[in-house]
């Protein structure tokens, strides 16, 4: 096992820039998740670490070894593909041992590793079967098994759960977490699903349009998103955003007004009169019967009742939709006019460029 370091990594195809100035440091044994919308460059980054895509600028170190010029086979990595990429004409055992033949591993050792991995992944009864006779979840376990037997320094996962149905996704997710604990291996995992990211990762790397937006632990990203993108990406349903401006500053209190929410008094720190800001509140932090300085409301257009939690979709005064999570059986009815409140600690404030303003200090970025 070893660590992984990516320094000032960039990737372009001709004039199209796919990745810009990526800096990332993964500790030995850490589970890192690269998450972001389609096209953000997460898969490209993973493939560059694997050696399947080339480096335009920057360096990649695996275990303190510069691997830029090395072929995938020389990097001591193993990759689990979204499509599983199992050899259709080989049975499960052969699929797992095929690559080992060429890395100089003795036959006896090969069998030992396969049996060990099969035991870990409960693949023993399937060893003689062919991929076409396996279910999606079984195929995925074989793909993982193929990676395990290579005993790599770093495991790479490219959206491994995307092709599974919802129930299978949950159970396989648990499997992967269990494997990580068992093997203690360094894992880099790509997904577009933020729930997978939140549940599996030691640290999450949020990416957007070829850049890293923020790196941090799940709860850090949830409670202290560094910018508008991370704030809107993490958490489901997404955070509610309100456009506003600073009306006046009086000492260390700023009065903020805007469409869709009531006037708000915030710590002034660094804010000037007239500054444009965005205010954000999560659906789960808005309450009806509460007092909080933040208020927003409107006419209820739709209520989604999901059991313990329901979601009310409210038409705000600025004509945008407000989504609020409501707990319990008492839910508002359609066409009710309701006002919601939230405490100051649950308010996120972002400046005109989308960066977080926290207590007036400059925006926070996770250090390398």
């Amino acid at each position: 096992m070893s660590n992984l370091r990516v320094e000032h990594l960039g990737k372009s195809y001709g004039t199209a820039n796919v990745l810009s100035d990526i800096n990332l440091s993964v500790e030995n044994g850490e589970f890192i998740v690269l998450v972001g919308p389609s096209g953000c460059g997460k898969s490209t980054l993973l493939r560059m670490i694997a050696g399947l895509d080339g480096v335009t600028t920057g360096d990649i170190y695996i275990g303190d070894r510069l691997v830029n010029g090395l072929a995938p086979a020389e990097r001591k990595i193993a990759m689990v593909f979204q499509s599983y990429a199992l050899y259709p004409h080989m049975d499960v055992r052969k699929n797992m041992t095929f690559g080992l033949k060429f890395t100089g591993v003795a036959p006896a050792e090969r069998q030992r590793r396969v049996d060990e991995a099969a035991r870990m992944l409960r693949l023993e009864p399937l060893l003689g079967r062919y991929p076409r006779d396996l279910s999606g979840g079984q195929r995925q376990r074989v793909a993982i098994g193929r990676a395990i037997v290579r005993e790599p320094d770093v495991f790479l996962f490219d959206e491994p759960l995307s092709n599974l149905d919802a129930a299978l996704r949950v159970s396989t997710r648990v499997e992967i977490a269990r494997l990580h604990r068992l093997l203690g291996a360094t894992m880099v995992y790509v997904t577009h699903d933020q729930i997978e990211a939140m549940t599996l990762a030691d640290r999450i790397v949020v990416m957007n349009e070829g850049r890293i937006e923020q790196i941090g632990k799940a709860l850090d990203l949830y409670y202290a998103p560094a910018n508008l993108f991370v704030a809107g990406f993490i958490g489901s349903p997404a955070m509610n955003f309100f456009s506003g401006a600073v009306e006046s500053v009086d000492g260390d209190v700023a009065r903020v007004v805007g469409a869709g929410f009531g006037p708000l008094a915030l710590p002034a720190g660094g804010l000037d009169r007239g500054a444009k800001i965005t205010v954000g509140v999560r659906p789960e932090h808005l309450r009806i019967a509460a007092d909080g300085p933040f208020t927003a409301g409107g006419v209820v257009e739709l209520v989604e009742r999901l059991g313990e939690a329901s979601f009310a979709h409210v038409r705000r005064t600025d004509d945008k939709m407000l989504v609020v999570e409501i707990r319990g059986r008492e839910t508002p009815s359609v066409s009710d006019t309701v006002t919601f409140h939230a405490p100051l600690q649950d308010i996120h404030v972002f400046d005109a460029s989308g960066q977080r303003i926290a207590d007036g200090h400059p925006p926070r970025r996770e250090p390398l």
Partner: protein, 277 residues
């Protein structure tokens, strides 16, 4: 409305049956009559052989007077070896063209596809000279080399299409697994090209088996003749001996028909899938 449909369906089947009769009729006629005695052939050409008219005299003659078995063997060798090598060399070339691209790959691919449209026969003068110089005149090897050259362009085209269908992830996984490049082709890619064999076979086997031109030009001695040439020469020689002629024709027809009927499903699937350009 319903009557109309019935009438239309009847008309469709009528046409198809009529044309099928036209397609199969001549063949049945020839084969049927090859088993009859001479006067029955002329007397009642349209009736099948019965106990009094049944005769194998034509077949005996063919076996005695010609080396039909040798011809058959030669055709078999030439066709199978050519097909095998066309598949092997064609698959390797198609793989290299799609995977190991370099400056000039496209030009090379274009160069190789010229042969699809341009008939190789036109260079026969030079081919014959080459074979004579190389001492390969009148050998099956000469035929095989020529047929490989003839079959490669189409085979490469068809195999390229199939190679595109193989998921790129498999190749990436093999590379991550540490599999050497040549092994990737022979052990990962090639086994997955099995469906392509039917398509390539249709376009390669039939023209080779039935070819008259190159055996005519490149083989002179009886022992290297292929079945098509052999039958043609036999027919020319024994043209008045109807029994033998019909028997020879039938012997040339029957293996093809049998193979065709057995493999017709794969054959037609191969033709229709490869034809969707």
């Amino acid at each position: 409305m319903f009557v109309e449909q019935r009438a239309r369906s009847f008309a469709v089947h009528a046409v198809l049956i009529a044309y099928s009769a036209l397609a199969l009729g001549p063949i049945l006629l020839v084969v049927m009559n090859s088993f009859k005695a001479r006067n029955a052939i002329f007397g009642s050409p349209l009736s099948p052989p019965n106990s009094s008219t049944f005769s194998l005299i034509g077949y005996e003659k063919v076996f005695r007077a010609s080396h039909i078995v040798v011809y058959f063997e030669n055709s078999l060798i030439v066709t199978l070896v050519s097909m095998g090598l066309v598949l092997l060399f064609g698959a390797m070339a198609a793989w290299a063209l799609s995977e190991y691209r370099f400056r000039g790959s496209t030009a090379l691919a274009l160069f190789l596809s010229i042969g699809i449209m341009v008939p190789i026969r036109l260079g026969s003068v030079a081919i014959l000279n080459m074979m004579r110089t190389a001492g390969l005149n009148d050998t099956l090897t000469a035929l095989i080399l020529v047929y490989i050259a003839q079959g490669l362009p189409m085979a490469i085209f068809i195999l390229s299409e199939f190679i595109q269908q193989i998921p790129k992830d498999l190749r990436d996984a093999a590379r991550c697994d540490g599999v050497p490049e040549t092994r990737i082709f022979f052990e990962v890619i090639a086994p997955l090209l099995r469906p392509a064999i039917a398509t390539v076979a249709v376009f390669t086997i039939v023209p080779i088996w039935n070819d008259l031109w190159f055996p005519l030009i490149l083989t002179s001695s009886d022992s290297t003749h292929t079945i098509t040439l052999g039958v043609q020469q036999f027919l020319g020689q024994y043209i008045t001996d109807w029994n033998s002629v019909l028997a020879a024709l039938s012997m040339a027809i029957l293996p093809v028909v049998v193979i065709y009927v057995i493999f017709s499903r794969q054959l037609i699937a191969g033709l229709t899938s490869g034809a969707v350009k």
